[in-house]
Symmetry: C2
Amino acid sequence: MIKAGILGGGQLGRMMLQCAANYPVETFVLESDPNAPAAHLCHRFIQGDINQYEDVYRFGKMVDVLTIEIEHVNLDALEQLEKEGVTIIPRTSTLKTIKNKISQKKFYSENQIPTSPYFITNSRDELSKHLDFLPAVHKTAEGGYDGKGVQSIHTEKDIQLGFDTPSVLEKKVEIDKEIAVLVAIGQQGETAVYSPVEMVFDDDLNLLSHQLCPAQLPEKIFWAVDAIAVNVVKKLNSPGLFAVELFTDNEGNVLVNEIAPRVHNSGHHTIEGHFSSQYDMLWRILLGYPLGNPDMILPSALVNIVGEKTAHGNVCYFGLNDVLGMDNVFVHLYGKKSVKPGRKMGHVTILSAEKQELLHRVRQIKQKLKAGSES
Amino acid sequence: MIKAGILGGGQLGRMMLQCAANYPVETFVLESDPNAPAAHLCHRFIQGDINQYEDVYRFGKMVDVLTIEIEHVNLDALEQLEKEGVTIIPRTSTLKTIKNKISQKKFYSENQIPTSPYFITNSRDELSKHLDFLPAVHKTAEGGYDGKGVQSIHTEKDIQLGFDTPSVLEKKVEIDKEIAVLVAIGQQGETAVYSPVEMVFDDDLNLLSHQLCPAQLPEKIFWAVDAIAVNVVKKLNSPGLFAVELFTDNEGNVLVNEIAPRVHNSGHHTIEGHFSSQYDMLWRILLGYPLGNPDMILPSALVNIVGEKTAHGNVCYFGLNDVLGMDNVFVHLYGKKSVKPGRKMGHVTILSAEKQELLHRVRQIKQKLKAGSES
């Protein structure tokens, strides 16, 4: 039986392991928190730090194939493991390109991938050289995640908010839609592409409201998105499951925003909505099976369950019975005991052939289901 | 978080636990084999014997709610646990009725549930009193499973093959179809019914070939099957997920064959084919949530993967890549390391709106996919 390791034990690992049980594979997880969402679902849980060379190296020596559920892992260890014959998916060189926002941007430029104009800054002071480039977004090269390490710089007075480390200053583009496309590449280079997903934002809160699959796009844009996503992933030159995030604007332009070299929040709906889920697809890649069928079974919407603004401490779900009483929804809670504002606690997928039905359910679920805390 | 225990750690437990990870529940498994299919997917694995009073009692004291994945468990321990406030689903009294074939048959008679005519025999000698009742099937009251404890008695000379323990002698009925219906009953008594499934037999081998959902039945029979299945499960007077196996004959009669008080092989297709799978439904019952939606997403077929006639030792799958390359099939392997003839190693579910497509895939999968052993 093939031994497969996952660096990280969060909800992505959890859903990977729910799916792994369909296949003949012995699963290993490296994670510092023994109560993490994925910790109890593997054959062997190894407590350790995915950012420490020794921990990652020792863990990698236990397995035949190794993947990640988060980019922030020790790449030196992966590089060494790869030299010693462990299969790393995606390849370490690809992870290096993606993990650092400067090298990711350079990769787009070098490969003629459309992306927003940018400058590289090494210190906060350098921002003042680019006043006529504003408004822009400043992003640290390393360590940004879930909104951290990202800062809007509208005018000169925002420069003080910028980062004093190597960063990318990206031109603010007029966005019509934010789109995500999952692309799978097998060990023989074969590809499979999922339908584009549309991120729908709540304009009042400036937060993701829900996702819709397939994205509602003019046909020309739809094909451009598809072609650009496949092209950028092919250029990465590695097997794996990748989530490509793109912007479209009102003039018909498509820009690559960023790539996640792993299963992704924008692909949770594939568990019920598609013949082969993103998790199933990744296992097929890791185990050397043929790629799965990325086709939709039904259109879907996805609502994330995040901690309420006032939530702290032991999580308590409100409205769960209401949502579980709906006919075509699928609830996934991640088994996190404690909640804080904005923490991802779970998601709900809705299936329906009717877009109105999807939107109706989204509205109901967002009204009823809350991740609060015990009072 | 509710603590839920499962007695038994086979493939049914495995699929229960894959699904459990969607809900806030701490999972416990009692099982003698630490390498059993479900062993690594629970929060706490307790090694022990599900037939021993002490093991079951001690295990039950660790949890809030307890269920089974096999009927052959120590019922005295469950009875005591129930007295002490542990929720047992299904109830011990219901398990008692079902576990013993004599009491199961009496239950049908007492409740006017149509079932094949029968006599109770306490010894082999008693069979000779029922010569004019033959051909019949002799079934031991306790301990029969997967074809064991079942013997056809066609004529007087077969009597020597009968059982010398308390048994049921059932009239052999002319069977048109074998049907299974899953029925869910929630803790408040609410019910949900899945579409009937049809077992299709290979007449040459006299073995189950595949299952089809929904069953192809004349409308009148379809409704009779549905009504009888719901009625018999309601009469059992317990929450739980039940599989009712029925026979239909050419004259339009519907007879209850037997009931499994648990998730069942005939319901594996619900994982992908129905909005709420049998596993999801059982968790909703255990955790006190509303029942799920048993409706079909698409019609389905199911092929079991069983050990080849010549297979012994470490399992080796042949044709797996061919099957994984098919667009609308879902492979579930149960993680068993060793194979023997007829052992259930996994299953494949096929989804399609077209019956011809389902049957075509069934034929392909049965030809290509084999669970053999390393040579």
